[in-house]
């Protein structure tokens, strides 16, 4: 790791100001960024920690009934505090990594990083969440732009994420045996106006919505409704842990299981 300055602002405004410096970078839980720096693959001169910013912490419900999560809220906090409001989301957060990771890693860091195998992007996209930054609101459908790519501008930080609460939801994660990230993860959420199905871990373009399944499940919310559907292997990730064909197959299996579990 190279030397760097660490600043720990207490307001979003101060954080944004600090991030305008050269080679400054936001630091959430550091679960991705710190290992990257240790490997010397990143060398920011200043790290701007979000964890001291109280306006970016915690879980609440807004007037529209949305579950609103501060951008610096840890996975462990979401697992505990969102359980009463949005159990499908809380369960997803509670299944990320291990306790050490969940007590450090943040929702903002996870979404900003947009790892193609990360869990949270599927919940945000599958819920049609709104990602709130220091300067604007971005619909999840516009936010994820391919592996490790998002709509965030330089120096822009995620301050909050607003999740409309579905009638039923479930996340099924098939573990990559080594990292235990999602080899394939499927988040299914049933809303009054239709079902959303978001798939992570599988595609070379990152998290995506499986629209055929959404249409079928909107007609009939039962695992059997997607029985005849399949995802083409084209564009799926192939690596040590699974071929594109295997991942495409797992999408169907995991979607069926998520629907069955959501009830």
């Amino acid at each position: 790791m190279h030397n760097f300055e660490l600043v720990k602002p207490t307001t979003i405004a101060d954080a944004v100001a600090a991030l305008s410096g050269e080679d400054a970078q936001a630091l959430g839980g550091g679960q991705t960024l710190i290992p990257t720096m240790k490997q010397r693959l990143a060398a920011p001169t200043t790290l701007v920690s979000t964890t001291g910013i109280s306006e970016m912490q915690g879980v609440c419900v807004d007037d529209a009934g949305r579950v609103c999560i501060g951008g610096a809220t840890t996975h462990a906090t979401v697992a505990a505090e969102a359980a009463a409001h949005y159990p499908g989301l809380a369960a997803l957060a509670g299944g990320i990594g291990d306790p050490a990771v969940r007590n450090r890693g943040t929702i903002g860091g996870s979404l900003a990083n947009n790892d193609p195998s990360a869990c949270y992007p599927s919940a945000a996209l599958g819920s049609g969440a709104t990602i709130v930054t220091n300067s604007r609101e971005i619909a999840a459908d516009d936010f994820f732009q391919g592996m490790f790519e998002t709509a965030l501008e330089e120096g822009e930080i995620i301050t909050e994420v607003k999740f409309p609460v579905p009638q039923a939801s479930n996340y099924q994660k098939f573990l990559q045996p080594a990292s235990r990230f999602a080899l394939v993860g499927v988040f299914v959420a049933r809303y009054a106006d239709g079902v959303r199905v978001a798939v992570t871990g599988a595609s070379e373009s990152g998290v995506f919505r499986w629209s055929e399944a959404e249409a079928a499940l909107s007609d009939s919310f039962a695992a059997s409704a997607i029985g005849g559907l399949s995802v083409p292997a084209d564009g799926m990730i192939g690596d040590l842990h699974g071929t594109p064909e295997y991942r495409a197959h797992l999408i169907g299996v995991m979607t069926g299981r998520a629907v069955a579990a959501a009830g």
Partner: protein
């Protein structure tokens, strides 16, 4: 009635108090005054010619003390290989040079090119980034068959990439071929035993120190065998005689074989400490470990089994390609030969066996012994091919094994070893009982009702431990003896210190060894302390591997203690005014047979050191004895493992539902420690069966170079084990009757798991006869749908 101390007691591991409370002292905890730090600049290409190394800018960077390259090691020895294999034509193996830092060429990703020594580790690393390398990348050879079929040469000065072509037993080859011609049935299986990375919890560390005042060198290192390192590094690399070189291996956080070998970093730190007259420290990162610790396994095998119409084994024929990597690690040549070919008889009386092994150089990290070393590879192929034969011939796999079991001992196999004792039916019966095999059908039906496919797999293994008779291994090419030594020092007030060459890095020697001595003398275990891991303290030692510590090191300790007791009896006889022949030792009391006259252990030890009333004319004062023990044979632990799995047909995911291990380890000194060793071995074996794999791409980059892609077993990957070691046929040739238990779990479990998965698939109409490990969900699914 379980004992509460001495042999057979489950004494709690005394070393765990310091390990579990963070008070262990590991090599990385050693920091010497004025030490400098080294960072190794390693090759990021698998094969390349070094046209230039420009260290100019780097050398001028802050904190840099000195930068070393291969040129600094001209005239210095390379890393030696401790075993020379003779090929089937009678020629010695091809043995390439293995420089401390690359000279001329780099041959694998991770090959060290330059070493930057600086005041801090960060400065060393910064400077390493400023070194300008001119390396011309050459085509790499990764696949073993390509390597022997005219692929690029790893070593330009060798004839080819073939280290040796070994035939065993070469004289039997024609008879074996004839038996195949005549056989009623032949079962053939091609398989891989994949490359693994040992991944001990503690990465390797070395601290070199040099005392200019005396000219003494000291190396602190994470080793399983400090004396071996002293011998190899002193005699072959740096030219330092043993009396000027001390090697210390303090607490070591696991080795599993990977810390047996002498590594370049150890020699470098010792060499550089003298060159700069400052201690030099290196601590491996986990990423570095993946590309610099010796890897394990990596065999590609074709095995054939010839049977008669009744299923009696007639002959076995194998052809194995064994990856050596880019250089020969310390014991690499012995693993696919003498630790593998000699075990191909398994538990069975197959009269004819021919094993062919082609050891191959490739542009990969060197491969050497890893828990089980050669024996897992032997067991895996044999027990897989037997299972396949049983299926092909419609014979129950239990019965096929049983009818071929060796039942009379001693038994001389056609592959050069003689099993002294065993009872394979006993462990098989025990395993069948403990595993409740009769209840399998009901459990299978219950799994099926949940949509899961249940399968049952069996494995009967044998291994050769207690390594090894020196004269025999000498004939086989070992360049070292494999005895062990112990010095027992009795202090004046009766406590004992035992200095042993057996290093403990998780095995529990500090607890188990005292149990033996406590039993012999009849004193409390707490009066005995084990000292190991420092060449300045112990006599010559060969270290810990091959499940040899208790069988060989323990035997040396027994012999030394016997000498102590003999002498102590003479002192007691003097004190009791009796003849030594009449003295009996029981419960720490010496008494005159048939009388009530006695003297306590402590009085005798005191007399030895305060010899006022002492037979000084006949006996030296003091009470300290050394013994060396060289075993007359290997020991042969054996047993049966039974695994029950559930396969999820939708995803291919395997979960191990039940696992039973019935082992015959001969006598057991500490049942709890034995059980723990089996648990650990099983976790590693299950890790190999289901999870672990070191994968290279065609260019020689390691694709699984971190825990993001190299799957280590976690607690929830392994089941609750049922472990039994009540079947005991004591070893006939060592004084304790012990056989060794450290590797059995890792040897016996992979075939049991794979057999179980194949069974589950077969029972559900899938014509799958083999799946290469690891049985990841993706592979099992592909096999089911292939």
């Amino acid at each position: 009635m379980p004992k509460d101390s001495g042999i057979g007691a489950s004494s709690k591991r005394r070393e765990d108090v310091r390990f579990l409370t963070g008070r262990g002292k590991y090599t990385d905890d050693i920091n010497l005054r004025g030490q400098a730090y080294v960072h190794f600049l390693r090759s990021d290409v698998a094969h390349g010619r070094i046209n230039g190394i420009d260290t100019g800018e780097a050398a001028a960077m802050p904190g840099v003390v000195r930068i070393f390259t291969g040129a600094d090691f001209e005239g210095v020895g390379g890393l030696p290989c401790g075993w020379q294999v003779t090929d089937r034509h009678g020629n010695p193996m091809q043995e390439p040079a293995h420089p401390i830092l690359a000279q001329g060429k780099v041959r694998h990703v991770g090959d060290p090119i330059a070493a930057v020594v600086a005041d801090s580790y960060a400065q060393a690393r910064d400077a390493a980034e400023a070194i300008v390398l001119d390396i011309e990348e050459l085509p790499a050879v990764i696949d073993m068959k390509a390597a022997v079929e005219g692929g690029p040469k790893v070593h330009d000065d060798l004839e080819s990439n073939l280290c040796y072509d070994w035939g065993f037993v070469e004289e039997n080859k024609d008879a074996v071929n004839a038996a195949f011609e005549a056989a009623a049935h032949v079962t053939t299986l091609e398989l891989k035993n994949q490359r693994l990375v040992a991944n001990p919890m503690e990465p390797r560390v070395a601290v070199g120190d040099y005392a200019p005042g005396t000219g003494d060198s000291t190396l602190y290192t994470t080793s399983q065998n400090p004396h071996v390192i002293r011998l190899l590094m002193g005699a072959f690399v740096l030219g330092i005689p043993e009396h000027k070189l001390r090697v210390v291996a303090p607490d070591v956080g696991g080795g599993f074989g990977s810390k047996i070998f002498h590594y370049a970093e150890e020699a470098f730190c010792t060499f550089a400490a003298k060159a700069i007259e400052r201690p030099v420290k290196w601590t491996s990162s986990r990423s570095e470990a993946f590309m610099s610790d010796a890897h394990g396994r990596d065999h590609v095998t074709k095995i054939e089994l010839a049977l008669d119409a009744d299923g009696m084994f007639q002959a076995i024929r194998t052809e194995t390609f064994a990856n050596m990597g880019a250089y020969l690690s310390t014991f690499a040549p012995s693993v696919p030969t003498w630790l593998h070919g000699t075990l191909m008889a398994g538990n069975y009386k197959t009269p004819l066996i021919y094993v062919n092994v082609k050891a191959v150089f490739t542009n990969t990290v060197p491969v050497d012994a890893y828990r089980g070393a050669g024996r897992p590879e032997a067991t895996f192929q044999l027990e897989r091919v037997i299972d396949k034969a049983a299926r092909e011939m419609g014979i129950d796999p239990v019965e096929l094994r049983r009818k071929n079991f060796i039942t009379e001992f001693p038994y001389a196999t056609p592959v050069a070893v003689e099993y002294d004792t065993g009872d394979y039916n006993a462990t098989l019966d025990k395993a069948l009982e403990v595993a409740d095999v009769s209840g399998f059908e009901a459990r299978r039906a219950a799994s099926a009702a949940k949509g899961k496919w249940r399968g049952l797999g069996l494995n009967c293994y044998i291994e050769a431990c207690g390594i090894a008779p020196s004269a025999l291994v000498g004939q086989l090419g070992a360049r070292a003896g494999l005895y062990e030594s112990a010095t027992v020092r009795v202090n004046a007030t009766g406590g004992l210190v035992v200095m042993t060459g057996s290093h403990s890095h998780g095995q529990g020697h500090e607890t188990a060894f005292p149990q033996v001595i406590a039993e012999m003398i009849g004193i409390d275990e707490s009066m005995i302390e084990i000292v190991h891991g420092d060449t300045a303290n112990s006599p010559m030692g060969m270290g810990t591997y091959g499940s040899r510590s208790l069988a060989v090191g323990g035997s040396a300790m027994v012999r030394a203690t016997e000498k102590i007791i003999n002498k102590a009896k003479k002192i007691a006889a003097h004190l009791l005014e009796a003849s030594d022949a009449d003295i009996e030792l029981k419960d720490g009391q010496f008494s005159v047979a048939g009388t009530d006259k006695s003297v306590a252990w402590g009085d005798v030890t005191l007399a030895a050191y305060v010899p006022h009333n002492y037979p000084l004319e006949d006996l030296e004062p003091g009470l300290e004895e050394t013994a060396f023990y060289d075993p007359s044979n290997f020991t042969y632990p054996a047993g049966t493992y039974i695994c029950e799995v559930e396969v999820d047909p939708d995803t291919g995911k395997v979960s191990i539902e039940r696992f039973t291990a019935a082992d015959d380890f001969g006598n057991v000194v500490n049942p709890m420690i034995v059980e723990g060793q089996v648990h650990g071995g099983l976790a590693q074996g299950i890790g190999q069966a289901l999870l672990e794999s070191c994968v290279y791409d065609a260019n020689g980059q390691i694709l699984s170079a971190s825990y993001m892609d190299y799957a280590m077993p976690r607690a929830d990957d392994v089941p609750y084990y049922s472990v039994d070691h009540s079947c005991q046929t004591p070893c006939t040739h060592n004084p304790l009757g012990v056989k060794g238990c450290g590797e059995a779990g890792a040897i016996g479990s992979p075939p049991a798991v794979v057999n179980a998965v194949v069974d589950a698939l077969q029972r559900n109409g899938k014509d799958v006869t083999h799946i290469d490990m690891p049985l990841s969900p993706a592979r099992v699914w592909a096999a089911m749908n292939g």
